[in-house]
Amino acid sequence: MWQEYSIGLLLVFIAAAMAFFALVIEKDDLHRLLLLDLVEVPSLAIIALLGTDLAEALILPGLVVGIAELLALSQIYVTKEGLRERKVQGLNIEVIQADAPLIISVLLICYGVILSGFTGGGVAGLGVVFYFMARGHREHFELLEMASGISWAIWIFAFFVFMFIPEYWLLALFMAAIGILLKVIVKMSLVGTMWGDGNG
């Protein structure tokens, strides 16, 4: 097992070195931002190499911190370069304007609901994001935010059930799975509708 870990570590360090080298020779700011994503991956891969439950618990905060920094940096880039906001009215491609987004989104959402939990939320959320991106949007954000808040509360409540009345674990499990599913879907669809919006 140690053998495999060492080889994996070596590969990750090679990947990190390549990404850093690219970062050094690249001079364009936007390209640097994109390359940073490449740098982020090895840092998560080192954690993932642990291959235990602990690694799974550590990757999530690591990923969140990375995404937060990336979002902050891209926002600074937009302000720094003085880029104007453009209204995006859906993608102007023939296939997208037909029924394709609807079908693909429905498939993704169904699959996501079957998966349930965090992964399912991600898959279903991707479907919703894709639909919003393809169609443009006129949604009530407050409603989506409220749904997100309520599902988060369900998720937290389920954890309290686990802690204080463990004999109802099955109910808590379903509540937690559905709560996180809804929350991730809503959060991702909010991300999908955010672009081009001034107050987003």
């Binding site: 870990y5 990190a16 850093f20 970062l23 700011d29 640097r32 931002l33 940073l36 740098v39 982020e40 090895p42 840092s43 998560l44 080192i46 954690i47 190499l49 642990l50 602990l54 690694a55 550590l58 905060p61 690591g62 911190v65 990375g66 937060a68 920094e69 990336l70 902050a72 940096l73 926002q75 600074i76 880039y77 302000t79 720094k80």
Partner: protein, 220 residues
């Protein structure tokens, strides 16, 4: 306790299962420093920077708008909380997370200033901070891989658990990238941003995490 802790014997150790927070004389004094400066950031009003026109009596007074003030004050307070967390945590991974949070907040404190030079400096600094997460999280993961624990108390009380020197070096490198003073001061443009109490939070947090990482490296 098998080995001595250079930071003094902890007054008490607060445990949340595996994660823990410990208050030794050293960490408590750093914590109080961070707390005091966070309170300063809460109550202080921003400075009004004045540029004197060379060779005349005229001057420009730079106003800080209310929206900008609110955002920067929020970021400074968040930075204070992140530093406080980094000062007392006894878990290596939480320590690295708090450090990267300090990095984001430092960028945020200056990024609200609508000045192209300041924004450019903040952007470049953000790139350094983001790429520093590789050695930072890498060090935490390698510590878990070589010793099987992330708890600092466990690492210093059990003499059998030795962290390799390379891993310690990676940890220091990561903290340096996230906001240690020498790198930070090189970005002089960032300090050109008006609004004194908030920019001081950047320097103070980098000083604090510098002092804490010395303790961490000596302890583990």
């Amino acid at each position: 306790m098998g080995m001595d802790n250079p930071g003094g014997i902890p007054y008490f150790i607060l445990e949340f299962g595996d994660e823990l927070v410990y208050f030794s004389p050293y960490t408590v004094s750093l914590f109080i420093l961070a707390l005091v400066f966070t309170l300063f950031a809460v109550i202080a009003k921003p400075e009004r920077q004045v540029d004197i026109v060379f060779g005349g009596d005229a001057f420009y007074a730079k106003e800080t708008s209310l929206a900008e003030l609110k955002f920067r004050r929020f970021m400074a307070i968040a930075c204070g909380f992140a530093s406080m967390g980094a000062m007392v945590t006894g878990d290596i991974f939480n320590f690295t997370l708090f450090i990267s949070l300090v990095g984001i907040c430092n960028v945020g404190i200056v990024a609200a200033v609508k000045n192209r030079h300041v924004q450019n400096a903040a952007y470049q600094y953000g790139i350094v901070a983001l790429s520093a997460t590789v050695p930072l999280f890498g060090a935490a993961a390698l510590i878990a891989a070589t010793t099987g624990t992330l708890s600092m108390v466990e690492l210093w009380s059990n003499a059998a658990l030795a962290v390799p020197l390379v891993v310690k070096a990676l940890l220091v490198l990561g903290v340096m990238g996230e906001g240690m003073a020498p790198f930070y001061a090189a970005k002089a443009e960032m300090f050109r941003a008006p609004g004194a109490p908030y920019v001081i939070m950047c320097s103070l947090s980098s000083l604090l995490i510098f002092l804490r990482v010395i303790e961490v490296v000596l302890v583990i």
